[in-house]
């Protein structure tokens, strides 16, 4: 049995804040070599300018690195199969080839066309909350199901399967669980998606899996279709859901800012950008591998080394904006790195923004007395997880 790795430094938080040690690294040496928790050491980059540079330079900082955990028993063919279709595991031009197939699906205009349906989904969930509460858990009743249903409809995944895949991916990304278990879940996840892909190949529907089969079926292998499907399903519901939960909590802790978002429709868009920056749910994104010797913040790093980018400290770097530790939903925080940077910048960012733009104000207006149903100190944050979040958010109104 494989022991779960200890929680690595770059994933530790003090509620909404990066732990002090992380901030100190940004202020002192800027880059530190540390244990990743994946059985390897890596250099962690913490400053805004350095993170932006690393993420923008796929030539020197590759996503297609050959890193494998020491106890990885997969053959090369198995690893190639597991990687297929995962956009985050490739550099251009292989990455560009896959991303080009998906970009038309996530344009700003395409997202606007989804708006009425997202409004309907948000309203349905608010109605259900109003019928069953107060109190209610905002994570299971609002934050998780809304993006899950949206990505299910977009991708062509039966929403009836949600408990199964939500459970599975939630554990898959939980680094406190044993590696053996997470590998078994990864296999199950793959089997689940391969059945959906087989259906789409037999009878392609109007959803994204159907589109990929119809328009790119000659160019994509079945393994690639499965990989794309898995990535979009996980990224579609494990991210926005945590922003909706943590974002609501952040606003509840800053009542005057909450009041602004509730009252003024024009306040929503800048507020979302600031919440993205301040919360930075993704700790580091995908580890990069240096292709040559590089120097970051005065630290020399050899070729073939692993490099992590710490997004929470970069997004709270005074080099990005003044008074970075403060949440200020009025400022809009242009240039934040919560969606990453470079060619791997979040494909679903326009969808995530649209979902949040609809969900936050709708929630706040439906429940003018929205408040925490338990003391703040009792809330359980989801540590040890690839994406930061709340386990539950009990609220009343």
């Amino acid at each position: 049995m494989t022991q779960a790795p200890p929680v690595p430094l770059h994933m530790r938080r003090d509620r909404f804040d990066p732990v002090e040690e992380m901030t100190r690294i940004r202020e002192d040496e800027g880059v530190r070599e540390l244990e990743t928790g994946y059985g390897a050491r890596a250099y962690m980059v913490t400053r805004y300018a350095d993170v932006r540079e690393v993420l923008a330079d796929g030539g020197r900082f590759s996503n297609a690195g050959a890193f494998r955990p020491p106890d990885d028993t997969r053959t090369e063919a198995e690893r190639d199969r597991d990687r297929a279709g995962n956009l985050l595991a490739y550099d251009p031009p292989e990455h560009s080839r896959l991303r080009r197939m998906l970009t038309p699906e996530f344009t700003v205009r395409r997202m606007r066309r989804l708006e009425p349906r997202i409004v309907e989904i948000v309203d349905d969930h608010l109605d259900a909350l109003a019928r069953s509460g107060p109190p209610a858990d905002l994570v299971s009743g609002f934050a998780l199901p809304i993006p899950s249903l949206v990505i299910c409809e977009l991708l062509g995944v039966p929403y009836a399967d949600r408990e199964e895949f939500q459970d599975r991916t939630g554990q898959l990304l939980d680094l406190s669980l044993e590696l053996d278990l997470r590998r078994r879940l990864a296999r199950e996840n793959r089997e689940y998606m391969s059945a959906l892909v087989a259906q789409a190949q037999a009878d392609p529907g109007e959803d994204m899996l159907g589109m990929l089969v119809r328009e790119h079926g000659h160019d994509l292998t079945t393994d690639e279709l499965i990989g794309i499907g898995e990535l979009l399903l996980i990224a579609g519901h494990e991210t926005t859901s945590n922003m909706l939960g943590l974002g609501t909590l952040a606003l509840l802790r800053h009542p005057e800012q909450l009041a602004l978002v509730r009252a003024d429709p024009a306040a929503t868009a800048p507020a979302i950008e600031e919440l993205l920056r301040w919360i930075s749910i993704v700790h580091t994104g995908v580890v990069r591998t240096t292709t040559t010797e590089v120097e970051i913040a005065g630290t020399r790093i050899g070729a073939g080394e692993l490099v992590f980018c710490a997004l929470p400290t970069a997004n709270r770097d005074p080099a990005l904006l003044a008074d970075p530790e403060r949440l200020d939903v009025r400022r809009g925080a242009p240039g934040h790195l919560a969606f990453g940077h470079g060619v791997h910048h979040c494909l679903g960012a326009p969808l995530a923004r649209m979902e949040m733009r609809i969900a936050f104000p709708a929630l706040l207006r439906r429940f003018p007395q929205l408040a925490l149903a338990v003391p703040y100190e009792e809330l359980s944050f989801r540590a040890y997880h690839f994406v930061y979040g709340l386990r539950a958010l009990p609220v009343t109104w």
């Binding site: 560009s96 970009t103 038309p104 205009r109 242009p334 470079g342 060619v343 494909l347 326009p350």
Partner: protein, 69 residues
């Protein structure tokens, strides 16, 4: 100020469309950047300059002075 958009570098993130909607668009077929106004002025020029800075794929650039600055 003249804006230059490199569609071969574009990843369709839509940042420019959100930042300067009067200057940038995306085409439906590929989801890639379409330049609506090559020489924006006033507020549009300021927004376009911001979009150049924000583009995650560094697909945008500008040359010349921003008018009114």
């Amino acid at each position: 100020m003249t804006i230059i958009a490199d569609r071969s570098a574009c990843i369709g993130s839509g940042m420019c469309v959100l930042t300067a909607p009067a200057v940038f668009d995306q085409d439906d077929a590929e989801g890639l950047v379409v330049l609506l106004v090559a020489e924006p002025e006033g507020d549009d020029a300021r927004a376009a300059a911001e979009a150049v800075q924000l583009c995650p794929a560094q697909a945008l650039s500008s040359s010349g002075e921003q008018s009114g600055e």
